[in-house]
């Protein structure tokens, strides 16, 4: 929807014409500060529409990429509103509401619709609850006015307002239209006590399930935009390369091909610092269908020049360099240096030193990148599944000068995001092309380009030196070398070991890097939880007992990291304990079978897994069954927390076994699923059982935490089964599967 000053008026008008309640809530502090901000504060919620027959239409306030926020967001809103879940019709459209803040930055006008960093639920928790509670209060006050009674004696339940002193009731539908004009005293507003929740905490199925299993067009790739040209871009295969030649005539000769346009190379600042190639130089074939454009691309027979700019860029050499860096005596950036590690090692009875390594990782979202842009003179429409919709509007503003508030961003469900769909390159090309040719353009990437032009998760080599004395860890020194980014230093075993040093070292290589699904967490957990296992065995102790002894008595340590300001050894220990119990830890296994345990804390959430594997005489590995436990505070939707635990753990196992980007002379060789192996049904564990520790703390994220412990759980299980210790991912290079 286009944002303009009349927008709010439009909302009110539509409420009247449809004789129903359309509520738009701007919470205090969200309105540009002006003297009459209070008066302007319109208590409407753009996501909910209560009809006079008491049915409700709801738009999800949060984006979806498979992390179930399209279900969790409405659950929170509906619970505080006391809506009858079964009466809600969910709308698949997800418009973006933007505004400018006091600093003139583009921000979300209502809910934080964007998603990533396992922060989405946490960021929207208070907002959605407050919004829901305001609506409930408006309805209660309207009923009180009609009955001429005290609002305090009225309660809301299942889309009805009930008078507790008589049996009279109003349905929300009867009250909605007039209730929507009420003003609620926000200072008197009461949120529910968690014991009053009826929807939050119950297992709900995905609101889009039926549309998905019947093949409805939910994704950006499915959008049939009127008058759009279909673009396939032939992108330079080598980083930094430029176009040398191409056969324009041959491409134009393909029926349906309309235009050939060169798309410019573009570099810019990018995480974790410095300049990166954002868009490769390319030749775009614009046609009346994707199939015609694909044929046109083949006919171009493009050749490239200057492909040697990054000739030395090679993933194998990079991994060797990272390992050498971890082993070197180069001083790293110290994130913590508690006690005196040198002295601790001198006094240790035994010292272990091992290095744990991970390759560059690919995103490989199941839905290849795509974007539709329709850039007109003074406004634009972009149809896309992107993690950060405000970024889409800003990209249009930066490229075309069109005010971001005049960009209509139509959000589509993402066929996977994993951080890749938070990048702007795929937006940029579509916006640029539409602006250039003056027509709507739909750009759809080939899988090869999607994998080649990725922003990889950094590779890493983590060396840990750890001592043992009288059965306890005596000194811990971790040196993490990686392509970019830094080591984490907030998680265990820090706080639990008095002499602890954590350093990071960066081997600067110009690989494009980006957000992935908790990759730093995974690398840390792989190293830490493998080393804990190695220490336990070195000491002749049981890996579970060793971990529980390390956690010690339950204690909370203050930290400052992402969503978390504390880390609790008791909550971590409970996850280990319960996962082990579910797995029957300590039971007798068949020959060749083994159980591995690993846990991790991140984004405020605690997770532990036990995995059972079988390794036969020919080193043939089979993943049999996994048991996982999560403590993410208050569990909003147990069904989807389980689903994230299952899928996230499998994603971590896939990273451990298969995921590896290879780059040779600046060209990505892993271009499709024939060259980049990916976990399928036959390699995945046949069963994953999940339990959730019911907490009372505000809910924390569940998208990334289950990924992290998977590689260590697998390495530890393989060791238990076979005595083979794997320290270098991907494991499929060292074991048969």
């Amino acid at each position: 929807m286009i944002q303009d000053p009349k927008r709010r008026e439009f909302l009110k008008v539509s409420a009247i014409v449809s004789s129903s309640m359309l509520i738009s809530i701007l919470l205090p502090g969200q309105v540009r500060g002006s003297a009459n901000a209070k008066a302007e504060l319109s208590q409407w919620c753009v996501y909910v529409h209560i009809h006079s027959d008491n049915s409700v239409s709801m738009q999800s306030p949060i984006m979806e990429m498979g992390q179930f926020m399209r279900t969790a967001g409405p659950m929170i809103l509906a619970d505080e509103m006391d809506l009858d879940w079964s009466l809600i019709q969910f709308d698949t459209t997800m418009p973006t509401f933007l505004r400018r803040d006091e600093q003139n930055n583009i921000v979300y006008a209502h809910a934080q619709i964007g998603t990533g960093g396992s922060q989405t639920l946490k960021n929207n928790w208070s907002y959605l609850r407050t919004a829901g509670a305001i609506v409930r209060q408006m309805l209660i006050e309207e009923a009180a006015a009609r009955w001429g009674c005290e609002a305090a004696r009225l309660t809301a339940k299942n889309s009805r307002i009930i008078d507790s002193q008589s049996s009279r009731q109003f349905s929300y539908g009867e009250l909605a239209q007039q209730a929507s004009t009420r003003r609620v005293d926000l200072s008197q507003l009461k949120l529910k006590h968690p014991s009053q929740f009826s929807i939050i905490g119950s297992s709900k199925a995905s609101i889009d399930g039926r549309d998905i299993v019947t093949g409805k067009p939910l994704f950006g790739i499915d959008e049939n935009y009127p008058n759009a040209l279909h673009a396939v871009i032939d992108r330079a295969p080598a980083m930094g390369a430029r176009i040398a030649s191409y056969n324009r005539e041959a491409a134009l000769a393909i029926p349906g091909v309309k235009q050939i346009v060169e798309t410019p190379h573009h570099s810019g600042p990018h995480w974790p610092g410095g300049e990166t190639q954002i868009c490769a130089a390319g030749v775009a074939v614009l046609a009346d269908s994707h199939w015609a454009a694909l044929q046109g691309k083949a006919a171009l027979a493009t050749t490239w020049t200057d492909a040697n700019r990054y000739a030395g860029l090679n993933s194998a050499a990079h991994r060797t360099a990272l390992n050498a860096l971890a082993q070197s005596s180069n001083p790293g950036k110290r994130h913590r240096d508690d006690g005196n590690v040198e002295q601790a090692f001198e006094q240790a009875e035994q010292v272990l030193e091992h290095t744990y390594e991970r390759a560059l990782l690919s995103h490989a979202c199941m839905e290849p990148l795509n974007c539709i842009a329709d850039v007109q003179k003074h406004h634009a429409v972009v149809v896309v599944g992107h993690q950060w919709p405000h970024q889409v509007a800003l990209e249009v503003e930066q490229l075309t000068g069109i005010d971001a508030l005049r960009v209509e961003v139509r959000n589509k469900r993402m066929g996977g995001g994993f951080g890749r769909k938070g990048e702007t390159d795929f937006l940029r090309e579509a916006i640029w092309l539409s602006h250039k040719v003056g027509q709507p353009v739909k750009v759809l990437w080939t899988r090869e380009n999607d994998m080649q032009r990725d922003y990889f998760a950094p590779a890493a080599a983590v060396k840990i030196k750890a001592g043992l004395k009288q059965g306890r860890i005596q000194g811990w020194h971790m040196r993490q070398a990686q392509t970019g980014g830094e080591a984490e230093s907030h998680g265990f075993p820090a706080h639990l070991i008095s002499d602890c040093r954590i350093e990071s070292l960066t081997a600067n290589h110009p690989f494009p890097l980006g957000a992935w699904r908790g990759p730093g967490q995974m690398q840390q957990a792989f190293a830490v939880e493998s080393m804990l296992d190695e220490l336990a065995y070195a000491k002749g102790s049981d890996p579970l007992t060793f971990r529980l002894a390390l956690m010690g008595p339950a204690k909370i340590y203050p930290i400052n990291f992402w969503a978390a300001n504390e880390i609790d050894s008791g909550r971590m220990a409970n996850c280990y304990r319960l996962a082990a119990k579910m797995a029957g830890w300590g039971r007798t296994l068949k020959n060749g079978q083994g159980l591995g345990i690993a846990g991790h804390f991140t984004f405020g959430t605690y997770v532990a897994f036990v995995l059972q594997v079988q390794v036969d005489k020919n080193r043939k590995l089979q993943l049999q069954k996994a048991w996982g436990v999560i403590d993410c505070g208050l569990a909003v939707n147990p069904n989807h927390i389980r689903a994230q635990m299952e899928g996230g753990f499998i994603d971590g196992l896939n990273a451990a076994l298969f995921n590896q980007v290879t780059v040779q002379d600046s060209i990505v060789a892993t271009t499709n699923f024939d060259r980049l192996r990916w976990m399928r049904m036959q390699e995945a564990p046949t069963q994953i059982e999940i339990d959730i520790i019911q907490g009372t703390q505000s809910p924390t994220g569940v998208g990334e935490p289950p990924v992290a412990p998977a590689p260590a759980a697998l390495a530890n299980a393989i060791y238990a089964a076979s005595g083979l210790r794997l320290r270098r991912m991907p494991f499929a290079e060292h074991i048969n599967i």
Binding site: G66, A205, T214, M366, R447, I650, N654, W678
Partner: protein, 156 residues
């Protein structure tokens, strides 16, 4: 000679010049049946799985020119009206999809398997269900298949 085949029971007549077009793009672009997805274009991922005369095939590699006389079924042709196919229903009962992108292909592969084998063994499921799910929904897919198998009366 024009190519004649059917898609979800609907007859299709195709002239000569389009014969190289993969079925996937024919379905998505000419018939606006976008339930079958593009994932890799090389027959690896299975997102584009449809039925060709009852067998699961990857439509991204299948030129329409080879379809003379054949019957194609897609995800859109699985339910009868508002009645879901039992496999679709099992997918809802187990709430299988995460992002959902691979699921039409997974469902088509599962339907073809269950039409051939009432109660597939673990090995048969592994061998037949080779589609990639980037979100890792494999354990729920397995449960959904088992749910359908459990409800199907055994062969006599």
């Amino acid at each position: 000679m024009p190519i004649q085949f059917s898609v979800n029971g609907q007859p299709v007549n195709l002239d000569q010049k389009d014969q190289e077009m993969p079925l996937l793009w024919f379905l998505r672009e000419k018939m606006q049946l976008t339930g079958s997805k593009f994932g890799c274009g090389i027959g690896q991922c299975g997102a584009c799985t449809v039925h060709l005369n009852g067998s699961a095939v990857r439509s991204c590699l299948l030129p329409v020119g080879q379809l003379q006389g054949s019957a194609i079924r897609t995800i859109e042709g699985l339910a009868s009206g508002t009645d879901l196919h039992p496999v679709q229903q099992a997918w809802l009962d187990e709430d299988v999809p995460q992002c959902g992108y691979c699921q039409a292909g997974q469902i088509m592969a599962a339907v073809a398997l269950l039409e051939q084998v009432n109660d597939p063994s673990e090995e048969q499921v592994n061998a037949h269900m080779s589609n990639i799910c980037r979100c890792g929904t494999y354990t729920r897919i397995r449960k959904a298949i088992e749910l359908v198998a459990a409800k199907t009366p055994p062969e006599t």
